[in-house]
């Protein structure tokens, strides 16, 4: 291959980086975010003639303008974060769990059913524990089924988990028609609207506190589990190479099933949080596509808990800001999708510059952007 060098050296060559210093990686990401804001700004100005700075201000107002808005943003961030935490171990094991949406719904169904049935007879703290356990089990079951098939018969887990979503959606539809209120409305309505039985109680005067406590605890737990535990190490090995794992004496089948049990259970718990801690009802849109968005969150963060939280916060704030600019500037909601798209594109693009470097012609191992 050495003759390539003679004569036609390309203007730019791309080389894989061996390793990158942390500050440098952070700097590249920061530049990417800044650039994305500039490009979005140019886009906003070109299309609408609005002052981009003002648009960004309004977006921030939409997400954090009042304390209530901030709490709503935090609540939705926690939901997305929780699903991403659930997905992290599965993806680290390179098990393509596309089924978070369904796992969340199953957790939601368990919670809503118990809330309806026991809301008036059981004290709320006990009921919360019962609902949490049920949703953990429900999500766990939904995660374990494709894992067993994958471990025993090598079925394709991407398709399997995806299709489990549709089963969950149909089950939800069934439950909605079973529990509809008022009769004939095809919606469950807010459960226990009067008694608030089974709703997350206010802690420190804030209805969202429990959501934050549960999810942050999970985040820390997952970080420790993946980074410091033996099981976490097994997950990493299976993810890197199944053959290596076998050679090292790891029971790949057991690890697969165990990891998906954990992954599904946490996603099920996200359903519990969605129903008992936010919507207090169940519908086929309870998961609302967040099971898929969380995949982006988990991958972008490379399964690092803290970064997953930040990315979830970024995505949710963008979405909240989007609604605000749509309302305030009479822009269609799609405008904000474009901005979100541009920002995500740059963040994803920055990963390229973190993993590779550009070498200009004539430079030996020269510096790059």
């Amino acid at each position: 291959m050495s003759h390539i060098k003679s004569g036609h050296e390309p203007l730019i060559r791309i080389a894989k980086r061996d390793a990158i210093a942390k500050p440098k990686a952070i700097m590249i990401r920061a530049i990417a975010v800044l650039l994305s804001l500039v490009v979005s700004g140019v886009f906003i100005f070109a299309i609408t003639g609005l002052n981009p700075i003002r648009v960004y201000e309004v977006m921030v107002e939409g997400a954090f303008g009042t304390s209530r808005r901030s709490w709503v943003t935090i609540r939705d961030t926690m939901m997305l974060f929780c699903i991403a935490i659930g997905l992290a171990p599965a993806y680290k094991m390179k098990f393509w769990n596309i089924g978070a949406e369904g796992q969340v719904l199953i957790g939601g169904i368990c919670t809503a059913g118990l809330m309806r049935a026991l809301g008036s007879s059981m004290p709320t703290p006990l009921l919360l524990v019962v609902m949490a356990c049920a949703s953990l089990l429900g999500g766990c079951l939904w995660g374990i089924i494709p894992a067993i098939f994958k471990a025993e018969w090598h079925t394709n887990e991407t398709l399997f988990t995806l299709m489990m979503n549709y089963v969950a959606i149909q089950l939800t539809s069934y439950c909605v028609s079973l529990w509809e209120n008022p009769f004939g409305s095809n919606s469950v309505g807010i459960i226990n609207q009067q008694t608030q039985g089974g709703w997350f109680p206010k802690i420190f005067g804030q209805a969202v506190s429990l959501n934050v406590i549960i999810v942050l605890t999970l985040a820390i737990g997952m970080h420790i589990y993946l980074t410091y535990s033996k099981q976490g190490y097994e997950i990493a090995v299976v993810g890197d190479s199944v053959n290596t794992a076998r050679y090292a004496g790891i029971n790949v089948k057991a690890v697969t099933i165990r990891t998906m049990a954990v992954s599904g259970a946490i996603c099920g718990l996200a359903g519990f949080i969605a129903v008992a801690g936010a919507s207090h009802t169940i519908s086929t849109s309870t998961a609302g596509g967040q099971g898929f968005t969380a995949i982006i969150v988990a991958w972008l963060a490379q399964f690092n808990s803290a970064i997953m939280g930040l990315i979830a916060l970024l995505l949710v704030s963008l979405q909240k800001g989007a609604i605000q600019i749509a309302s305030q500037f009479k822009l269609n909601n799609y405008a904000s999708n474009v901005i979100t798209g541009i920002i995500l594109f740059f963040i994803l693009g920055s990963e390229f510059f973190i993993n590779f470097r550009l070498i200009l012609r004539g430079k030996k191992g020269g510096e790059e952007k």
Partner: protein
Amino acid sequence: MKKKLLGFMMAMTMVVSLAACGGSSNSGAAADKTDAAAETTEEATEEASEEPVAEGVDVTAIKVGQICVEDENSGYDAAHIEGLATAMKNLGMDPATQLTLVVDIPEDETCYDTAVDEAEGGCGIIFSDSYGHQTYMQQAASEYADVTFVACTGDMAAPSGLANLKNIFPHTYESRYVSGVVAGMKLKEMMDAGIVTDPYVGYVGAYPYAEVVSGYSAFFLGVRSIVPDAHMDVQFTNSWYDPTAEGAAAEALISKGCSIISQHADSTGAPSAVQAAHDNGKEVYCVGYNIDMRAVAPDVALTSAQNNWSVLYEHMLKCYIDGTEIPTDFSAGINEDAVMISELGDACAEGTAEAVEAAWAGIKDGSIKVFDTASFTVQPTDNGSYAVDADGHLTSAFALDSDGDWVNDNGEAIMDGAFVESQLRSAPYFSLDIDGITKLN
């Protein structure tokens, strides 16, 4: 070297494919948005020229909130957005500065968050436009007693017992009936010409709610007032807005042999499918909802049943401004100009305009009752919710059974030989299965 190159190519493919995904959805979005921006500015300049009519109360200080389930691209929501803006202008308010409009709010806790946000932002009266919003409006109403929440098309205001939760709904069954007359005229023309032998009508419905049942039954009775032996199939899509599913449902009905397709779903899916079938040589026509469908189905659109929401919005706003009691349930029909049908299409049969005129006149003076018990029959039931005579005509019926316990919640619905719709509450409650209509799913 090879490996690096491969890595680079893979990375580039990824980047390019990402760009492609982002790009395709973005470009459409950009176009939509510019449209929206252009439209709203146009509206804003109009408003600026309006003179505020102050009547003791400073109407310009009132802030109004509106929550819509889709944006202005959905005919249903466009009618609401335009309706409230018109009502505000008529009352001397400026929608550009006094209205907080939030679109694309799903029927989940986002609605509650938005309603509460608008209430905290100073809105004194807040409207939501979709049925499924009401449980969240109710939640917000229970927490903000000094703000009025109006859940359009909802039915929980009275049962909730909340003084600040209201429902409004126009007499859509009247415009449905008249649009049925238009369809009946076309059907009769096709039968007279020998093109059609079976008077078979299809209907694309959203959900099997009373609102939809009332609408298609009224439409069907309109058809039957012209073609007495007509029969109809209803296909539900289980969504208010799903162009693909509505198109597919229309296609299915056409292939079963329906000659007229009507709809209670908010997209142009069904009319587009009918136009396509017509282009392929099928003799089939359509009756739309909310918006004039001639733009998407120029050769087949007969008319559309429409609501003039501004009449209802204006009434509620006026009560709110004047400080008079705001009705818990408010409903209005042709006598108040709250319902109408769109301009007749070129495909309409000879004499349709006269028949429409006669139908409107009959509804106005009460000589035509849409749900006249003599004009339809139902199968007897043993659950006690209604009773029929030997011929199958209704003699009594529950108006309302919101909890499904087969106990009448709200009085007798049969009065003077007709089922009275929209009087015991604003939202429709006619939900009987009348003979001649078959639900396919």
